[in-house]
Symmetry: C2
Subunit: 412 residues, 2 copies
């Protein structure tokens, strides 16, 4: 049993709210006033020590249960989420002349993406407050993770997707038994429609930029990296950025670990966007967010109207980090290079992080002696079409069977 949440705080105006079940955004700031969950860190400081973690047998994100907005463990689903592997990419490091490159493979989560961390918390929270129906708008990983965890929990799920969504992704949702609503419109229209429907029918809203509790699941990745490095965190953490919730979440994990005295310093956060969907990079460089029409094959970060700009920009700045763009060609090359040298097969957004790291390395922003974690946020099996494009030059041989048989025969 645990509940260390003290209040919710508007990231825009700082106003405080009680953590009421139906509280989403700040009453004053509206949709801009995303709320941040605050905990009784004083009470947690004596409790969550290095020794405490050393003794914890839990190898999932629930080892950070005391830092999550859940009152009890009974609503947690069995699907094993988090505590994903962290690899020193030795061969890839040699190839690059960069000895301390690490891969955090979040494609190993139950439905194949980082988003499982958030959906796992969202579904547990929905059960806690007695919701029977959950919803989100997404064409990708958030949707499949919500559908998967809802299936495990026996919740009804409604997923709003643009009617143009790839059939493969819709298939994954249907397999989990989700109700898929094909919206004849853009992702943005699906998003607003979903929020309106949640309000109208009282469904539990899993949209990360509205529901303050979901980012709490994401922050466990930051905690894990800190702990997997023996509380001596890396110099940089590089991640792809779409809406901005994931990077902001990971940053929150590091910030909390420092607040509780478990680490002495925090890594710098590097956010990577696609050249064709770079509103947050522009905002980072110029100060304000202007919506764009996204154009990239990395569908998980093809976001033109980022909904967590405030949180993610603050995270990058607070960490003394940076933001960078990569081209779709960079992303395709990164899928192949990452897989060939590490055995980790990433979806385009996951590979984008690696492509961004390389660019920062070549630009001298990241030093050769630094320690870097690239977070692979999604499994490559989710997007075989892009993988195919990545291996256009792959080596497929069609041997002359008769010829080969002759060689082999002669050798017997």
């Amino acid at each position: 049993m645990s509940w260390f949440v003290t209040h919710l705080e508007c990231v825009h105006c700082g106003r405080r709210y009680d953590p009421a079940p139906d509280r989403y955004v700040c009453t004053e700031c509206g949709i801009k006033g995303i709320l941040d969950v605050k905990y009784d860190y004083e009470a947690l400081t004596g409790r969550l020590t290095r020794e405490w973690f050393r003794q914890s047998p839990d190898r999932s994100q629930w080892r950070y249960f005391d830092l999550l907005p859940l009152a009890r463990r009974e609503t947690i689903q069995d699907l094993q989420v988090g505590w994903t592997p962290l690899y020193l990419a030795g061969r890839l490091g040699e190839h690059l002349g960069f000895p301390n490159l690490y891969i955090k493979d979040d494609g190993r989560n139950p439905t194949g993406s980082f988003k499982d961390r958030a959906s796992a918390v969202g579904v547990a929270r929905a059960l806690e407050i007695g919701a029977r129906v959950v919803a989100c708008a997404s064409t990708g990983n958030a949707a499949s993770s919500l559908a998967g965890f809802s299936a495990a929990a026996g919740l009804t799920s409604y997923i709003f997707v643009p009617a143009t969504a790839p059939e493969a992704k819709v298939t994954q949702l249907l397999v989990y038994g989700a109700n898929v609503l094909l919206v004849d419109g853009t992702y943005d229209e699906a998003y607003y429609l979903c929020n309106a429907a949640c309000e109208r029918w009282g469904w539990y809203n899993r949209n990360c930029a509205i529901n303050p509790y979901l980012m709490e699941g994401k922050k466990t990745a930051g905690w894990e990296i800190a702990e997997q490095f023996g509380w001596d965190p890396p110099d940089w953490v590089v991640m792809a950025v779409g809406d901005g919730c994931s990077l902001a979440g990971v940053w929150k994990g590091f910030a909390e670990a420092k607040l509780l005295g478990l680490i002495d310093r925090t890594p710098r956060m590097a956010g990577v966007q696609a050249e064709g969907a770079r509103p947050l990079v522009d905002a980072f460089e110029r100060g304000s967010v202007a919506p764009v029409r996204p154009q990239t094959l990395a569908d998980s970060i093809a976001v033109g109207e980022p909904r967590n700009a405030a949180k993610v920009l603050r995270a990058v700045r607070d960490s003394q980090g940076t933001m960078i763009t990569v081209s779709d060609d960079d992303i395709l090359a990164a899928i192949h290079e990452l897989a060939r040298f590490t055995g980790v097969f990433a979806e385009p957004a996951g590979a984008a992080a690696y492509a961004g790291f390389k660019k920062l390395l070549h630009a001298g922003v990241i030093g050769r002696e630094e320690r870097v974690v690239v977070v692979v946020t999604g499994n490559g099996l989710k997007d075989i079409k892009s993988a195919r494009a990545a291996v256009q030059g792959g080596r497929t041989l069609r041997p002359d069977l008769a010829e080969l048989a002759k060689i082999l025969e002669a050798a017997r």
Copy 2:
């Protein structure tokens, strides 16, 4: 450092061999004389106790390192393999009126299948004996797992696939940097060609039915199930069967655990084949194996000439188990039912095991009070095409946007 291997033993004639690096099959029996790796179980009995395992921090298949044919740990790749989650399928059990149904989700392995267990051992072994090139014939999971682990290890891999192999599977191989040889012939021709090429060029042969060491990786799943049940193993373990190596491997794990006194009894093994590829079911019922032309959408078990018949039939009989077939329609329905009630998305062969369990339950072979583990041997993301066929009746709604907007507007 560990090497408890004593000798290799022919499953056909019982002849013994030294575990020489280039030893594959029995000299006397040829291809029929698959070898079984034997260990110094006497020396291991005092060593591998329940307490020893309780204290092991390793959460991968390498916790069973002493029971594997590897001399040292240095050749083990980082890719985290094994110790996959075991779930009590509570909601699915309720749906079926069967309280003790467990799912062992091996789709959570690095390249998405049970085969990673074997390839991980194969690649470590290849490195140990100084091989630089590995090869196998396969259209599916064995190939991708070999390609993935070879990529991590920096080994060159050659994969022989029928030219008719699905493009998606070929893509996964190319992404990992494998050399893919498209053979204008059947899987069987690719298989013999691969073996001949390995002989001719001295490549390390990863074909499971020839290389005695690979099954050792597979047996770790049996060990894991025994340990995850607190050394009080289930009554049944149900698995899909193609060549037969996987079920035989899991059985070996249980047999060893009993031999070392860690469990008192072993589960009964149930092997499931597709109706259109049932040579082992026929052999189990009638005594001899007759090759067939396989016809099933479950490509991972679409095997017409099973190459480990002796080992798998012995395993089923020794365990007092059984074998059964399921139709492709059963398999498709099973994909959907498993995902909807557990959140575990299985590829067709993995779902076939669940379909087989249901059939055995309804036939009264498995009793309502028994404890059953269904092994999901592959991730559903590997075969989206079959998943799509599984959800033909899935609920996709295309709401009238204007209508919906009106309802929502009225509610404000």
